[in-house]
Amino acid sequence: MSERTAFVNARLVDPISNRDEKGALLVENGVIADLGPRLFADGVPKGTATVDCGGHVLAPALIDMRAHLREPGEEEKETIETATAAAAAGGIGTVVALPNTDPPMDNPALVEFVIRRGREAGQVRVEAYAALTQGTKGERMTEFGLLSAAGAVAFTDGTKAVANPQTMRRILSYARPFGLLVVQHAEVPELANGGAMNEGELAARLGLSGIPVMAEAMMIERDLRLVAATGARYHVAHISTGEGVELVRQAKARGLPVTCDTAPPYFGLNETAIGNWRTFAKLSPPLRSEDDRQAIVAGLADGTIDAIASDHAPQDQEAKRLPFIQAEPGAVGFETLLPLTLELVHGKRLSLSAALALLTARPAAILDLPRGRLAKGAPADLVLIDLDKPWKIDEAALLSKSKNTPFGGRPVQGWALRTVVAGKTVYQRGA
């Protein structure tokens, strides 16, 4: 006896096929068996469970291509269990775990461990990056081939840049025939050194040393030269500056195999969110100027930026209740990813389809994941979204083990009503 669930009375939105129509969708054994405007026009057959979508948007579940799950090593901040529960509440069906754990995910056993723990948690799908260099020290490359065989979907040192140009050149060169994706935290460490926020007037006023925009732009420039020489696939993570976006725009125009993502703080906030030393607004890369923020929005609107990731980085009180310079960077992001992206839709900067593509099909394409679409035979990873629901982001209500959001108190519109992974409901609001 197969398991069948009918999602009826839905607004089906699939960015890849440009579908946006009223209709129904049938899930059978964890896979989308059928969908369309006329499906179940004559009623749902007996023996099929029914979910009435109430006219809300039914879309592919979100694919979050950057998240720190903190396990193993920093379970006091987050665990795979708590992280995947928070992700499910955010409408996310797949999270890709960054390798900055303790120890870092630089060997096949650790990559397998994280993927297995994700499976055991039984909420959302957990994919994993592997470190680019051993210990994420930026010196010796990891076992790319063996790590991909163990399940690593791409390679990055996460919050650290590979600074040495010779090391990066060899990494890109070696990765090319494997077809592997190299993801860079684009920041020249020596230029960022000691910096706690964006360089500029506000940093000067607060007496904090700043991280200049050029720290990002110079690293991207250097890497693009190496990409041009090697032909390897290269991705700029959490791009934060207008100059960075422009470099990627030009590289794409030249036909280089380059992609990039950003995260909600970089289009939803600027450096003034730091106010008087709000450490929840201390991020890496730092929040930038208003001009940069607008350039990120423009990059999302014209397609230069390929994906929006949560950049979920849980930090506990001990890591944040410190003088600004000493506080750890990062913000939680799973439960705010969708509403903050929808701000761009409500603000008429992106169409709904384009916004959802940035959260689903496009990151899936970058990582070569067979998800992020509504199509017959595709995995039934779905999110039901109330686009207009007004609510206020409340730190205390977050499911994540850490509550460090810079968006606390922000009024937003839209949230996930239900998240389905492989046909199974892993989250239902109010349930």
Binding site: A204, R205, L206, G207, L208, W277, L322, P323, F324, I325
Partner: protein
């Protein structure tokens, strides 16, 4: 006998920085401090304006003159002053700034004087305590009592602040003294210049409403006041300027460069002075031109005024 200050005149519980203080509030503190200066050292040894009040000096960073100055100020007002030597206490054992704040707060002091090596460290602490906090210097951010004492020193010699041309010279980028002085002097209508090598005086300072110069003679031209900053010698190697010798040659204050300023221009320095690095010894010791020792003397009076003001604000706001 000096009468207690009018509490309503200074509404703030803390003095964390000059930025945000109004010209009236600054003038009030300076006027109050001036009365303490004029009164001189109290004959009976002490006033009783802070009798029964407890003041804790909490210094997370080495300091001799600021800590001593606050200690004297508190004692001259009749308060009980306790010095915490933080370098040797529990902070070294990993206790956080906030834990320390909560522990001290539980002892119910009236005022905490705090110096901290991190910008914003003092404000963070102030958010966690119920008493008043006076910033004794936080990182590269602010050092409000230094700016107040500098302003009073200038006002007593020049009779005003409005319209004076003041050049602040040296390591502006890393200096909390420079920031507090820029805020205070621009708020009070002085014309402020910052002068030094571009690595230590970045152009972003123009956004503070000051003029930026990278040449001493140009920067000092027509100045009323030359304020020299202390150089952090450990920063001098290689990255910010090539050498002390080169720095002194181009940016150290000697008579040749001082000649560009007004003939009656006065010289200030927050101390301690690196002789032969940022200032020539003869210039520093020139009794006609240098205000360096007067700054120290006036510092005690200014800190008396600040202590009195925050305690008065608390009385006005109903605390204690």
């Amino acid at each position: 006998m000096i009468t207690p200050a009018e509490p309503k005149r200074f509404p703030h519980r803390h003095i964390l920085g000059i930025e945000g203080l109004s010209p009236d509030e600054i003038t009030y503190l300076l006027d109050r401090a001036e009365r303490f200066v004029d009164m001189g050292r109290p004959k009976e040894g002490k006033l009783d304006l802070l009798r029964g009040r407890t003041i804790i000096n909490l210094f997370f960073e080495e300091s001799t003159r600021t800590r001593t100055s606050f200690e004297l100020a508190g004692k001259r007002l009749g308060g009980d002053v306790v010095n915490m030597a933080v370098q040797h206490s529990s902070i070294k054992k990993g206790e956080t700034l906030i834990d320390t704040a909560l522990t001290l707060d539980a002892m119910h002091p009236d005022v905490l004087i705090v110096r901290h090596p991190c910008s914003g460290g003092v404000e963070l602490l102030s958010q966690k305590v119920t008493c008043s906090v006076i910033n004794g210097g936080d990182g590269s951010h602010e050092h409000p009592t230094q700016a107040l004492l500098d302003a009073l020193t200038i006002r007593r010699r020049k009779g005003r602040l409005q319209g004076l041309v003041v050049a602040i010279c040296g390591d502006v980028a890393h200096s909390r003294v420079a920031r507090s002085n820029i805020h205070l002097l621009t708020t009070m209508g002085a014309r402020v210049r910052v002068v030094g090598p571009r690595t230590l005086v970045p152009p972003v300072f123009e956004r503070f409403g000051v003029e930026v110069f990278h040449d001493m003679r140009e920067g000092l031209k027509g100045c009323d006041i030359v304020m020299m900053l202390r150089l952090q010698l450990e920063r001098m190697q290689g990255t910010f300027v090539p050498s002390i010798r080169e720095y002194f040659h181009f940016f150290g204050l000697d008579y040749a460069k001082l000649a560009a300023a007004k003939p009656d221009a006065l010289i200030m320095h927050p101390g301690p002075v690196n002789r032969g690095v940022e200032i020539d010894t003869e210039v520093a010791d020139d009794l006609d031109r240098s205000l360096i020792t007067q700054q120290v003397e006036i510092g005690v009076a200014v800190r008396m005024a600040c202590l009195e003001a925050v305690v008065g604000a608390n009385v006005a706001n109903g605390a204690r």
